[in-house]
Point group: D2
Chain length 377, copies 4
């Protein structure tokens, strides 16, 4: 079955293996005549790129993205954009012994069980390198969303046992951990370095917030916005859980506390995380995802080989001790793709309504500069 | 956009509003010539049904499901099964004043923002009543999965601040809270009754476990099994978070602890929750979902009306003080649907492989009685 | 696989067998807040209904359509519309002997080969009765299209060897053959009556024309408007071919003759049938489909039974001698569904463009009363 | 909307413009562990390639296909195959004056109307060059089908007014017109050369036959095999009509003549073209498509420019006088893709049936060497 495609109106198909010739993406359904900011796209690629600090993998990847179709004179044509990055600096020999072994925590065994034949080098399709295409497509989506006044930001809220106590979003790109809490950076860094010293890795939590999302996005009952976001975020390698707004804390809350009241200027609080009944409410979308500790660690572990015989394996190669850091731009990209797709989906049926139902109108929001749909009062 | 359809090979489309004429479902893609156990289907419907104890809503719903197509002489024909339940005992007058108001915590405002025109009575499509079709379809899926040796069980692991300390699955249907821990039932019940006394409601957590799932289900990279499950579970009303295996606890774990080792008889531990790289591993699938406290509570809350003027509202009508209890069969149904769909999806491409690749074979598992795919050693 | 769903944004799922409890449809993705003309819908149902004259089957079907969801106070809510017709006047005993036999020309053998188990009575899902849901959904689509100034008309252009020589569309509903050429009606009727006398049936050709279609509908390269229309029309029972504009005659034409020139007021001729490169051109969409002679004829024919033994069979029951006549409203419905879906699809991406690209504008067409998109000159 | 993807289980996404950097394709859902015959793939590419004789365009295209992903050690991995051909020998200057003009017969106007902004050089996405990806994917599909004993052949049955009188399939690749009738080749060639001399072009008809197709493929009622084939063939540039079996001739036939009788060894005749009720019957699939005369002709024609002002235009550049010839491998590719997809789709639900329904079995066909599904007698 074809599982490598994502989205309904804005549709993304990624291809390529970690140590194959290239990794890339086809983006279909993007509106025509859109002026692309190519530098901004490359900037997003760079944020995802390994080798930026000691806290992430030292694999050097140029990640210079090249666009092969769908753009003419720097504007989109409405036809598919294919973009890819050639693979370089691949040390496939690091992986030779893995051809016959399944690394604990990795997808080696499950890919073998499903496909029989696999490209074992560097995780193949299961590698984080697959996210190159997601980040490219997400960068397009961000530019489209910006036209509607929608912005997306992400940061790290937990590393190992250290949790952020505040959300200072402006500081996120100032620290190499992308922590939302500058006061926690030292402790987070210490936790990562301690783990690395012990040939180990740590997990983390990422939070992504989307602001300026108009009410009405999301398609109930199975195409709910939170369902789409959950699938998108869970499709990122190493993610083991997703929550919105109050999230798992809602279990211990009372309804009187959880229910967000409304005032004429919008919702007073945001336990609901910006979505009710799977439809955006106008409040910021708040999503959180947990990233497990990096599976690749240089410790001997028990496993089996392709003949189901017991073996031990330790992962060599260059790896992130805390993959949550590089996960931030990937999570932002997935949120951007879902929102852009939802926006276009909503346009499909809502746009038609303007012909027969004058109940809503477009309004210029002087605060944000964005055009917003509003209901007539 | 059409958001009311779920699934790829096994496809479910639900229809109907809480206080309309009927709620129902069309199931398409179910294999032909399957002998249905109609009593078992009705049993699942009854588990979902309100009015079973003081802890759930007192609305009486017959929930007698009727099948209109796709079955001939008690076997499926491979054509769409349409089944529905007529709505009775609707006290729509309870909702008259809500036509102009948005209840906090409900989807009233967001449906209004999206659609302009809505059936305000009892939540319309956003009502839990919509799950009638999910549970019917899930019951079909469970019967299909049973033929492959796959079983699904669900239970409540948290109510308010009370958490289950053990997992005694056999006791779940013996207590009206569906708690997996009989020792915690009294405290859970006390928490619910205290909330009700205070005109309030409580949240909870549901765990669903699928056993006997063969390795190899799930379609990377966007059609990952955990991504599909996350979307399915998040599409249930009131769910605010989903996690698998170690889930959010993975943030504070080390890789050396998180990575599950393999032995010739399978995985030694199950922090991964039965999926690696989005593909099932053969270990049990373990999913957890948080259900927010019921939004309908008889307390005055601030809100606005359709003219954006401030108002107050309290929800009358009959409602569950803890909707997690009735959520158990719904969550099981969604897991069953995803697994049955994944099984059929996997069959599509893997089945073809038997013609050119003799690397795998079918084997009869004497322990479980199920036929399983195995790789030749 | 689920083959009973049609459409991308406007999505139609039909269910039900000819002699089961009911036939019906779920329509999802229809815009909200649309005021339905229920009488106009029933009128379309009546046009499809058998028993209207001696030239069509005498089976009496009330075909009174009932809507079970998705409509509130006579306006759509944006949620799925489920509508169905209960089956009455079924003479299933006519079909008893067919349980073990395959009728030549019917889908009996192929359904048996695919599904193993089938509802043999009256053709099951392969019966023209399945089109009840298509015509209902098509009636909705027609009402939506009318808001955009798009109208659809269909008629019979060939019956047996008799071909229409003109296109007098206003006369179509005045003759019970739905011929576009009143002068040919007598000869067409004679051909049908001669066939019936000889216990035989005749084929025919239907033409459907859509006017007012704005340029720009259709999604290249696989979602071309003509590809979608071809699939839609070919999905109607008994159709063996589809063509657009010059159609098969184009083989014998020269490019200089085929190419339609453009003038400032539009295309000068319409050999292209309203689509170029799979995108609508603004010229009328012209589609033609051939309907084979009714398979059910009361003549003994050689066949086999389910044990592959030779047998003979003649079809009893009540059948149309020329099914093309009743095929007209069905073909119109399918064209309407494709166009409405294409319109909504186009809106998804084009609508977004208004935010960043002011090259086009909406204009009121004083001739037709419709609002049309125009490109700024 | 994303229209550049085709197929359900075997999914093909093409990208690239005629005069952009490259044209290519992503194929997803192809079974894993399949040993690819790369030379056979290139052979299909060469059949599609221009410049092979005086009767086709003289544009030289290497069409050397390169695979970037999804293959490891010459076997498929089950992950997406991306393959592309870089564009060379592009004389874009031939098209400079077309930036502001719409060529009659081309998609220039409609792309402009839809997208506002377009790559006008050489037809962009509407160029036959887009078919590179189709033919690559079709070559994969043919290799898969061959494992099931299914073969596909195509040929030209009409050029201008010259119709083939016989079907001598073995001779097709021996004549540069790919005519199925060697006796008609001279007349066909004369018709093309006469047209070219008159700066004109001619149309044609292609027939494609698939043999060895097992009964049971195709998904009623909207996913009918003939509906899928019709869409696939109509999506090829310049095609204006599609028919199966008797096709449009069925209009003038009687039911007694049209209905194909069955014998214990299969269907006695094949007016139905291998499909009944949209499901394959075991008889050969017979499809016919009409290709309009090439739109690019060096004659002055009336048109308008982007400002809707009258202009004249003649197409320079190098073009096929009869595009039907090169259309043969493209049509074969589309039929192969639909059949491979249908086979995999059918496997999804039918394969599951083996677990609970032993009514069918696999049998080795000694005549063809293929494995076939058979129903137990």
């Amino acid at each position: 079955m074809p599982g490598n495609t994502f989205g309904t109106v804005l549709r993304v198909t990624t291809f390529g293996e970690s140590h194959g010739r290239a990794v890339g993406v086809v983006v279909d359904g993007f509106p025509a005549d859109f002026p692309l900011d190519l530098a901004a796209i490359q900037h997003e690629m760079d944020r995802r790129r390994p080798g930026q600090s000691k806290l992430v993998t030292q694999r050097k990847e140029g990640d210079k993205i090249e666009i092969f179709s769908g753009v003419f004179e720097d504007r989109t044509t409405g036809t598919p954009l294919m973009a890819m990055v050639s693979n370089t600096d691949m040390r496939s020999r690091d992986y030779d012994e893995l051809a016959q072994l399944f690394r604990p925590g990795h997808a080696d065994f499950t890919y073998f069980a499903k496909y029989g034949h696999r490209d074992h080098r560097g995780g193949g399709r299961a590698s984080v390198r697959e996210s190159v295409g997601r980040v490219f497509a997400g960068a397009l989506a961000k530019q489209l969303l910006a036209q509607f006044g929608i912005t997306i930001k992400g940061g790290v809220t937990q590393v190992g046992t250290v949790c952020a106590q505040t959300r200072l979003w402006d500081t996120v790109e100032d620290n190499e951990l992308r922590s939302v809490d500058p006061a926690s950076v030292a402790a987070m860094r210490a936790e990562i370095e301690q783990a690395r010293k012990e040939r180990d890795s740590v997990g983390g939590v990422i939070e992504v917030v989307a602001e300026g999302v108009p009410p009405g996005l999301g398609e109930p009952v199975f195409g709910k916005l939170d369902a789409e976001l959950a699938a998108a975020l869970m499709s990122i390698p190493a993610v083991k859980g997703v929550e919105f707004g109050a999230g798992f804390a809602a279990a211990a809350m009372r309804g009187s506390q959880m229910n967000d009241e409304l005032s004429p200027t919008g919702f007073v609080s945001n336990n609901h995380g910006g979505m009710l009944g799977g439809i955006s409410s106008g409040a910021p979308i708040v999503a959180r995802l947990v990233v497990k500790p990096t599976s690749s660690i240089p410790q001997d572990k028990n496993t089996i080989d392709v003949n189901f015989q017991p073996r031990t394996v330790a992962t060599r190669g260059r790896h992130d001790p805390c993959v949550a850091i590089r996960g931030v731009p990937i999570a932002e990209a997935m949120v951007a793709l879902v929102l852009a797709d939802s926006l276009l989906q909503d346009t499909a049926t809502r746009g038609a309504r303007e012909y027969f139902s004058p109940r809503e109108y477009l309004d210029y929001d002087s605060a944000t500069g964005a055009r917003r749909r509003r209901l007539r009062s």
